[in-house]
């Protein structure tokens, strides 16, 4: 009986992981925890703004975030934050304002999910990128952010000039 319960629980966990939310195996945390961690570690923040049941999020998770090297790169160098576009869960912005995760979408002017937002360790926005992206895209964004290129160039300028 206990074995059946365990199997059912495992299937439930697998189902909820497979259908939505951040990619499995990555140490994504909530907004407040991620900001606090970034202030301590000094790492930039990679914010995954997803939606429960979102097909393009699922596609990105399966196609892109399944890459082991990308997982290693982002896990080592970013504080990973996941926010649910329709959630009433509360978070606190760097300004001190308390809003819901859904309201963060209003502030980000989000029109589609997934939306990927890179933030400084202080929580200031560097760049935000909507839609499905490839492993190479995320490698380019990483160079743009951690290389500090955002201080001189827009992302488009950077991508246009990369060799």
């Amino acid at each position: 009986m206990n074995l059946i319960k365990s199997v059912v629980a495992a299937i439930c966990l697998w189902a909820s992981a497979a259908l939505a939310d951040p990619p499995p195996g990555y140490p994504f945390v909530g907004f407040d925890a991620g900001l606090a961690a970034a202030r301590t570690s000094g790492k930039p923040i990679f914010l995954y703004f997803g939606r429960y049941g979102c097909a393009w999020c699922d596609h990105t998770n399966k196609k892109t975030f399944s890459d082991a090297a990308l997982k290693k790169l982002y896990t080592a160098n970013y504080e990973l934050v996941y926010v649910d576009a329709e959630s009433g869960k509360r978070l606190t912005l760097p300004s001190g304002e308390r809003i819901t995760e859904a309201e963060l979408g209003v502030r980000l002017k989000a029109f589609a999910t997934p939306l990927f937002v890179y933030l400084t360790p202080q929580g200031d926005k560097i760049v935000q990128i909507p839609g499905f992206k490839t492993v190479q895209d995320f490698r380019d964004y990483d160079r743009y952010v951690r290389g500090g290129h955002y201080k001189q160039k827009t992302l488009l300028e950077f991508l246009g000039s990369k060799s």
Binding site: G53, D58, S95, R98, K109, F111, A112
Partner: protein, 393 residues
């Protein structure tokens, strides 16, 4: 001859009735760059009109923690009276309901439960026995009801309660979950409406289908509820085996006409242009019909936010929301003309430079429209809660 022709032209031109707006007032007296007022709540019930008094509820952090407030403007007063603090500890998502003759009921989340209080004067009472949030209130046909999202195992579920008003205190007469079974996924953000026949309609966000779907249930007596049905007629589901479906969120309900109920919510069925405002009508059969898009074509290619619908017994119906079609967030409204929603018009005092957002609205017994919104002239400025009233002329 020319004068006579001009007169004929003027007489032949159709008279276009429209909302005629009064001067906008500021509701919140305490403002500051680090004070953040919010008008968010289940069913977006931030304003109510009781007799000729207007009541507005909100939450702000002026005291270092979020607290909930009610400000009242008596009909004869030029301004809102000093606000009444509703909460003792961190407070979220307050709602207000008109009880008549200048009295109000407010409800809010505090200390892990939901509370209600009659104002002015009454004491606060706790409504839920378990951990609860996202409370809303509705009244009609002699009954007062509350709905909230209550913890039941791993997830929250929707509970509807009939309230009893005795000696300026609201108590729970009977509280029941809409569904007896333990929820299989999260439920929240309930909206309530009590129609002219006394029946109760409750709508909420539901994740049992692995994406957010607004569901609705009816009860003739507020005790037994019908099996939940989808508000959306859009058949959402996975795409090529990916995901689980497009999202729809924050349903709001209003009574309309003698027995009708109308629902408005944010819907992402067109997933590339953000959420759109959609509506569905139940003329009294306790079944919602096909979905209608509320915003006009000028608002199609951008996200709409913070939608609410308000109605009255005469059949008047207005939807409000905010979007950035003119470059910055403005408050928009659409009137129901009996067949469709009219072209969208901006609320004059809630449009233009800066951000005007998060509208909440109410129609009073005389058909006047009361709208409250947040206004921030620039990113560094303090946020004001603004109020304006309009008459249909």
């Amino acid at each position: 001859m020319r004068a006579a022709a001009l007169l004929l032209v003027m007489l032949a031109a159709p008279t276009q009735a429209a909302w005629e707006w009064g001067e906008a007032l500021t509701v919140n007296p305490v403002q500051g760059a680090a004070v953040f007022p919010h008008l968010e709540s289940a069913n977006r019930q931030g304003v109510a009109v009781s007799g000729d008094s207007v009541g507005v509820v909100w939450e702000d952090n002026r005291d270092g923690t979020p607290q909930c407030y009610l400000a009242i403007k008596p009909g004869a007063a030029a301004e809102f009276q000093p606000e009444i603090r509703l909460s003792q500890s961190a407070c979220y998502e307050p709602v207000v309901l008109a009880l008549g003759a200048g009295r109000f009921a407010a409800a809010w989340e505090e200390a892990g439960s939901v509370h209600a209080r009659v104002l002015p004067g009454g004491g606060a009472s706790k409504l839920a026995a378990a951990e609860a949030a996202q409370v809303t209130l509705a009244a009609g046909a002699g009954g007062i009801y509350a709905a909230w999202a209550e913890q039941a195992g791993r997830f929250r579920r929707i509970v509807v309660a009939r309230l009893a008003l005795a000696a300026d205190t609201l108590g729970v007469e009977a509280a029941r979950p809409v569904e007896a079974k333990v929820p299989s996924n999260e439920q929240g953000w309930p909206a309530l409406a009590v129609a002219g026949d006394g029946s109760v309609t409750v709508a909420w966000e539901d994740r049992r289908e692995r994406h957010t779907v607004p569901l609705v249930s009816h009860s003739r007596d507020g005790r037994r509820f019908s099996p939940p049905a989808r508000l959306t007629d859009h058949k959402s589901g996975s795409v090529d085996g990916l995901g689980a479906g497009s999202g729809a969120m924050r349903p709001t309900l209003a009574t309309w006409g003698p027995r009708g109920v109308v629902a408005v919510w944010l819907d992402k069925r067109d997933f590339l242009s953000g959420y759109d405002v959609y509506a569905a009508f139940d003329p009294g059969k306790r079944r919602f019909g096909k979905n209608l898009r509320v915003q006009d074509s000028f608002g199609d290619n951008m996200a709409q936010w913070h939608a609410q619908v308000v109605g009255d017994a005469s059949g008047r119906l207005v939807a409000v929301w905010d979007d950035e079609r003119d470059g910055t967030p403005d408050v928009w409204l659409a009137n129901w003309n009996g067949k469709s929603f009219d072209d969208n018009v901006a609320v004059p005092a809630a449009a233009g430079a800066g951000a005007q957002s998060d509208p909440v609205a109410a129609l009073d017994a005389s058909g006047r429209l009361h709208v409250v919104w947040l206004e921030r002239t620039d990113a560094q400025a303090a946020t004001r809660i603004r109020y304006a009233r309009a008459e249909w002329r």
